[in-house]
Symmetry: D2
Subunit: 328 residues, 4 copies
């Protein structure tokens, strides 16, 4: 029989994403609603090891639902990858009389949580927070929707200057292993081509496509490139290749970088964060452990952490096709 949960800790880990603050707020308020104590842990697993805890009540989290980043701060912890590190963390948890842990982060963070659970039989629950949308068990990770809007807004601005000068822009967006951001913003930003890690369309197809679009009367173009695109050339090399192999194009590069991670979360991400926090806390209270909460067909569901970690999200082929048709 599971121990009754009287105190829950929450931490954010790995790369930050918009909506993490909203998720912390939800965890804290759901605890308050159920008369369970809540403790915030600073700097992810680092703070767990160092005992950087702070008691949080419903009022501690006011005014943060619309703030980007995470006020608990995040970090990648090397020490937590060691048995010693995790032991220290567990001792702090025991000392603080914490009965369950909510981890907001990506798959690296979930791996840590799963091992911690296995070693100490300690209840853990994951909330998928990353802009990359690369976690199985949820149609949307926290921050993905906001990042899409941030990137599209930047592409809209770039298009203003691209079309004023009849230029071709290569715009690099986040996504080392997955093309979800690139594919969505490519469609929404009216991109000519979208280069993603999942597909290798080849440099010639790119040149063909650009030539075709020029002939069809387009005077400026945007090509969206995911960081980890399969062609594998750095975006500046892509520019050079096009400069050399295509006439009359004035090519520019824009690497959007870290601004993609920040900003006030969208309505969708705030609602999602609120739902996920409720589900995570209430699942712990029901005695569940070692799951990730997620949105599946617009319903809050649990997925074993193991599946969430091992799985690999797939690109939506319908979107690839829509993108092709839209660049007619």
């Amino acid at each position: 029989m599971p121990k009754t949960i009287k105190k829950i800790a929450v931490l954010t880990s790995g790369g930050d994403s918009p909506g993490m603050n909203a998720a912390i707020r939800s965890v804290v308020r759901t605890c308050a609603y159920h008369n369970v104590e809540c403790v915030g842990v600073y700097r992810g697993y680092e703070g767990l090891i160092d005992g950087e805890f702070e008691v949080l009540d419903a009022r501690s989290v006011k005014g943060i639902i619309n703030k980007g980043g995470t006020f608990l701060k995040s970090a990648r912890s090397k020490e937590f990858r060691t048995v010693e590190g995790r032991k220290k963390a567990y001792e702090n948890i025991v000392k603080a009389e914490i009965d369950g842990l909510v981890v907001i982060g990506g798959d690296g963070s979930f791996t840590g949580a799963m091992i911690f659970n296995q070693e100490f039989d300690f209840p853990v629950m994951g909330i998928p927070g990353t802009i990359d949308n690369d976690i199985v068990g949820t149609s949307h990770t926290l921050g993905f929707d906001t990042a899409l809007n941030t990137v599209v807004d930047a592409i809209d601005k770039i298009r203003d200057t691209a079309s004023s000068h009849n230029r071709l822009f290569f715009v690099e967006v986040m996504g080392r292993d997955v093309g979800h951001i690139a594919l969505n913003v490519g469609i929404a930003g009216g991109a000519e081509e979208i280069l993603i890690p999942e597909e290798d369309l080849g440099l010639e197809r790119l040149v063909d496509s650009l030539n075709r679009s020029r002939k069809s009367g387009k005077s400026s173009s945007i090509v969206v490139v995911a960081e980890g695109d399969k062609i594998g050339k750095n975006i500046f090399e892509l520019k050079d290749y096009v400069d050399e192999n295509m006439e009359g194009y004035d090519v520019r590069v824009s690497v959007l970088g870290h601004m993609q991670r920040g900003g006030a979360p969208s309505c969708f991400d705030r609602v999602l964060a609120s739902r996920m926090g409720v589900k995570a806390v209430e699942s712990l209270l029901e005695g569940k452990s070692n799951y990730m909460v997620g949105l599946i067909n617009n319903i809050m569901e649990l997925t074993p952490l193991e599946n969430a970690i091992k799985g690999k999200t797939k690109i939506n082929l319908e979107l690839l096709r829509v993108s092709d048709i839209m660049s007619t």
Copy 2:
């Protein structure tokens, strides 16, 4: 055997919503992709009756994916509700050799399309465009996501001033018959209470809730009220009631109004619009008629127009509960 479709017309009808331009663009480009001619009809069914047509090719719709409103303009047509009106429309369609019609609009527009289909056996396809998200057969109508972000942004601004002055604000948002906007923005905006057309919580509960939140240490509050909230009092009467029945509150009202309909569509709405346009045109080309395209579990699906019109969307009870917990 269905007639081969060689020319498709597209119109926007009813209240405009962000993403309509992106949907028109998608219809036009999908036609171009399939070598089908495309004709834009101005001012909805009015333009069908008056023969205000314009041939649109892939280049005609450049630079509009990020524009709010609809460049084809929209209108509510009384004449199209008459047999004579529809007959004129049909004659124009025959004269222009149009073989299929895509209608972007809400349920009123779909009713018109369905009757038109019945009377003339003319192929029609609907794209649900309305910020209210009140149409069965799609988890999201076009414009809903954008409107949510617009409203949340406004509520964030109102909260700045509310919390600077320890004030209580009643904020009226769109939704005459449905509370989808109110419920989502209420959660995302950190509202104390959310008054929607689907539920009558009663004035006393509102006062109780506000008193409780004040005791819990909240110094300012936002109450989100859908236009058609069930309590049925005008938002200014609500203010008066609270002024009279609660001490020490400085109450203000803000009616957000038509700005909720405008603005550049969100990434989500642009992608949705692109997908819907493809699905609508390709369904017509496949010989289908009298359906609405929609998003169901993140897949493009068809729903008979009749079902879309007769059905009534339901409020997500999980969200109601999350809202309660969040205002702890």
Copy 3:
């Protein structure tokens, strides 16, 4: 000889405006830079009377430069208008060993500061914070620029729906006594007419102008109305008048309300706030008192509070003319 200033208090008073937090931050950091202690006073003069003080150091004000509203909160204090109230305030100031006071607010707040200075010979310095830009001695009050952008953004959204439906919108913006906001956003929002408190163009001219613009081919129109417009009719009466006196217009009203006060301050307002805070603190340290800091020809200048209060800003007639020409 003025007493050496070792401790400075800062408060925000009256209606809040974007940039107040940035100004508080600047006051606090300028104090830290000069090794002067700084004390924040909550809820304006109310907090001065109630002794709600908090010591602020350079780190206390991190992360607020981009936040709307005022974390010190603001209030209008009736008690401070009495001799007894001000005496209590002075006693608290003496007890806390405060040597100077920076008041961020509008003319009402400055009147209080001036009387307080006269009664107790206590050094005060004003920073003009109000979105209305109605204070003599500065070309821009703090928050004015941000409010302009907020309103223009809302009008852009309204125009999306106005032009989709060929509608006429009356949009009410803030400005009970002055038309600065209305005039600027009217030009920037492409308004057909602008109704301001300083000018009475008469209802007939409005109707004439609308008729003319319709004839010239405009299908939709925006009329910007300041709260205190000289025609003196409530905006809903204006709508009724046009409904009755003009044919074929579909007229709507939008009252923008309190969202105009909130939001992240613009770059201009953040820089202005930073400059004003430096100037206010350093002027106190130089032994000056009873002035307001302001921007005159892009240089920080001091204006006696008395002049700031008594003066009345004038509408820029060039802008009125530009507005007329633009609505050609």
Copy 4:
């Protein structure tokens, strides 16, 4: 006696900036107001040489006041730097019966205009459009204010992630020769240090400053670097230098790039554009030539093109000092 002006041409030249469309609109409507014909020239001086003209009336420019970029498109013309090129341009102008030319652009564009005026005694008038604010004769160039807001918004987002991870970010902003953007956004974005082309503070001071700020308790920092900063190291070399010479810093680089040029113009830039267009056209109608219109102490003034080109704007030393104090 100057020839009566009956037809005016307008073009945009050089790098585009937000507000150019609003300025074109103003030129066109001011012409319409004075019953003067107006002709738009595409692609700057290139279009003048190629005769790419289009007659523009008041309705041609509707719906563009809020659009970034320039619908007339811009270009840098090599041919216009030759006598032959300018002769062709003049012949086209004579053929089209154009009597005056408004050039919207930067100093390179004005040099072309001035030479053209000298060679053919043809009336020209300049409107300063560039985000860099590097033109003498106006306190604000068109687009500067918008670019500041765009950059500050991006820095706010970067700060979200910087402070979540206790990171140091070098953010590169536009400004090859001038630090106006860097200085303003540095203050508004709460930057630790600002590196500009006008000042060489030396690498050691940078390291000292960062060390000091860390000791004072700051956990994350932003350093704003203008493209042409005097230290002269590429921003990635700066990162390497700090990586090598400072312990415990997690340093990242973000190059904002071309998105800084785009976006809907701010209220300020729209009003400025409207005022400048009126002044430019009316000055031509008054028989003036070879001037640039500009904002001086908030009044529209004329400056000889020669002075505008030769002069060099100076950095505001007060802002440098404010920046120092704010990073306390």
